[in-house]
């Protein structure tokens, strides 16, 4: 059975990717269009708004691609159990496979999308150094974080169907609450806590260390991200374990 499981995981990822781009003529290109459109908007409208940021295009783009991975990943995971209701009801495979393979598909799209954007970033002044290898732990940590948030949302969404609606409302709000298109130090002192308690702020720090500064991620923020991820994963695990047995009757 275990050898078979690897095969099942592979197959579910394949199915997700197939479903995602099935009925679109442009297929994979759509996933590039989204960040590209936003990039154009920010470049035309805000390029002179933040003179404190050097190389604004690179600043925006580095935040944007990771934001889209986060927002797309969590939204997909939010629906994952509902979408796979029939499979969950008929196959005896661990239910965690569904969010895992869903995120696997998102991760593949994200990584594939990263290639053309890194070319664009290169022309924007991205430093091609060995420091880019730090992307591997950063992306890994970020993926675990997205998985944990998604697992919480997805599990609760089985019982309370408006969790998905709620998340679709919060999601764009989080975009503006995160320093993606603006510098964090622009936020007035008394509202700083909003930014600092936002987990994405810490991830954006280490992402920009690598992409924007061309250095290694700062240890301080790396530790913060690690703690955030561990705590979120723990909460996700506890919630999931508590309610997973109720999935079948509520799907």
């Amino acid at each position: 059975m275990l050898g078979n499981r690897k095969y099942i995981i592979f197959f579910l990822i394949y199915k997700n990717l197939q479903l995602k781009y099935k009925h679109s003529a442009l297929g994979f290109l759509w996933s590039l269009l989204h960040p590209f459109l936003y990039l154009l908007i920010f470049l035309t409208i805000f390029s002179h708004a933040f003179p404190s940021i050097q190389n604004y295009p690179l600043y925006v783009l580095s935040g944007l691609v990771f934001w889209i991975y986060f927002s797309g990943g969590t939204s997909a995971l939010c629906l994952v159990f509902i979408k796979n209701a029939f499979l969950i009801k008929s196959f005896n495979i661990p239910k965690t496979f569904y969010p895992l393979t869903e995120l696997g598909g998102e991760l593949i799209s994200f990584l594939l999308g990263l290639i053309p954007f890194m070319v664009i970033m290169y022309f924007m002044g991205l430093h091609i150094t060995l420091n880019l290898l730090y992307l591997i732990p950063v992306i890994l940590l970020f993926s675990i974080f997205i998985f944990s948030v998604g697992l919480i949302l997805g599990s609760l969404n089985v019982f309370f169907r408006d969790v998905g609606i709620l998340w679709n409302t919060i999601n764009p709000a989080m975009f503006y609450l995160s320093p993606i298109a603006y510098p964090a130090n622009m936020v007035p002192e008394r509202f700083k806590f909003i930014v600092q308690y936002n987990p994405l702020y810490h991830f954006l720090k280490i992402i920009r260390n690598v992409f924007y500064d061309g250095t290694a991620p700062s240890l301080h923020y790396m530790v913060n991200c690690f703690v955030i991820t561990t705590v979120t994963a723990l909460i996700a695990f506890l919630i999931y374990r508590k309610i997973r047995n109720g999935f079948i009757s509520n799907l």
């Binding site: 029939f86 196959f91 309610i243 079948i248």
Partner: protein, 245 residues
């Protein structure tokens, strides 16, 4: 004969949202902060011993726990109490629309069903795909269409054929035969007999006592989550019919 499935004192409960709370809005309005979920028991203390090669029909009114029993045996639901032992390769449960992804084509669904039912070599898979399409009597053109365009009968043909060709050790069927046309039903019956003759074990949920008598030697009757009868299929059919008198 050796037991392949053994249930001892198995009880299954579902977690249900209390008072019909299905959204956070309800949750706040109805202010049931104490316990949003409550347990609802679906199967009560079931004892069951199924031997290798048994063909068991499961009868019972709607909501009596038949599907839950199959899902428990398949390992999809975990018992709250009691023990469950299975000594058989569990194949996917065959229920209406089970495992079918409506956006994907018939071929793609077939590939997924085969992938989920066992680890076969590429050559075997190609061979099995052919067998499945033969059995399902679906044309190449139909199999290329997204399954959302299928009729209920075609969907049943597809899922039924995918499971049936895999030579299961344990075949679990949950009311899928009813939707196929007469010809396909006959074909399925023949195939089921063939699978049983090859030594497989069958669990068959149906609302038709006649079908159960025809296919199964043994019959079980469930009511309100309790096993009220376990014996020959003929007697089980009588017990079942009496429930509605």
């Amino acid at each position: 004969m050796e037991s392949v499935i053994k249930l001892h004192n198995v009880s299954v409960s579902y977690l249900q949202s209390r008072k019909g709370i299905h959204s956070i809005k309800d949750f706040i309005l109805k202010a049931s902060f104490i316990a949003p979920f409550q347990k609802h028991r679906v199967l009560h203390h079931i004892d069951l011993d199924i031997k290798k090669g048994d063909s068991v029909g499961i009868l019972g009114p709607n909501g009596s726990g038949k599907s839950t029993l199959l899902r428990t045996i398949a390992g999809i639901i975990h018992p709250e109490e009691g023990t469950l032992q299975t000594h058989v390769r569990i194949s996917p449960l065959l229920a209406l629309g089970a495992g079918i992804e409506l956006e994907l084509s018939g071929y793609e669904n077939m590939r997924i069903a085969l992938a989920l039912s066992g680890n076969y070599s590429k050559a075997t898979r190609t061979e099995m795909m052919e067998k499945v399409s033969d059995f399902a009597e679906l044309t190449n053109e139909q199999l290329r269409m997204p399954t959302k365009m299928y009729s209920t009968g075609m969907l049943a043909r597809l899922s039924f054929s995918s499971v049936m060709t895999a030579n299961p050790e344990l075949l679990m069927i949950d009311e899928v035969l009813a939707v196929g046309d007469r010809g396909f039903q006959k074909k399925c019956m023949n195939r089921i007999h063939e699978i049983i003759e090859n030594g497989a074990t069958l669990l068959f949920v149906s609302h038709s006592p006649g079908e159960v008598e025809e296919i199964c030697k043994r019959g079980i009757c469930l009511k309100d989550g309790k096993k009220i009868f376990d014996g020959t299929s003929t007697k089980a059919a009588v017990v079942y019919n009496k429930l509605f008198d």
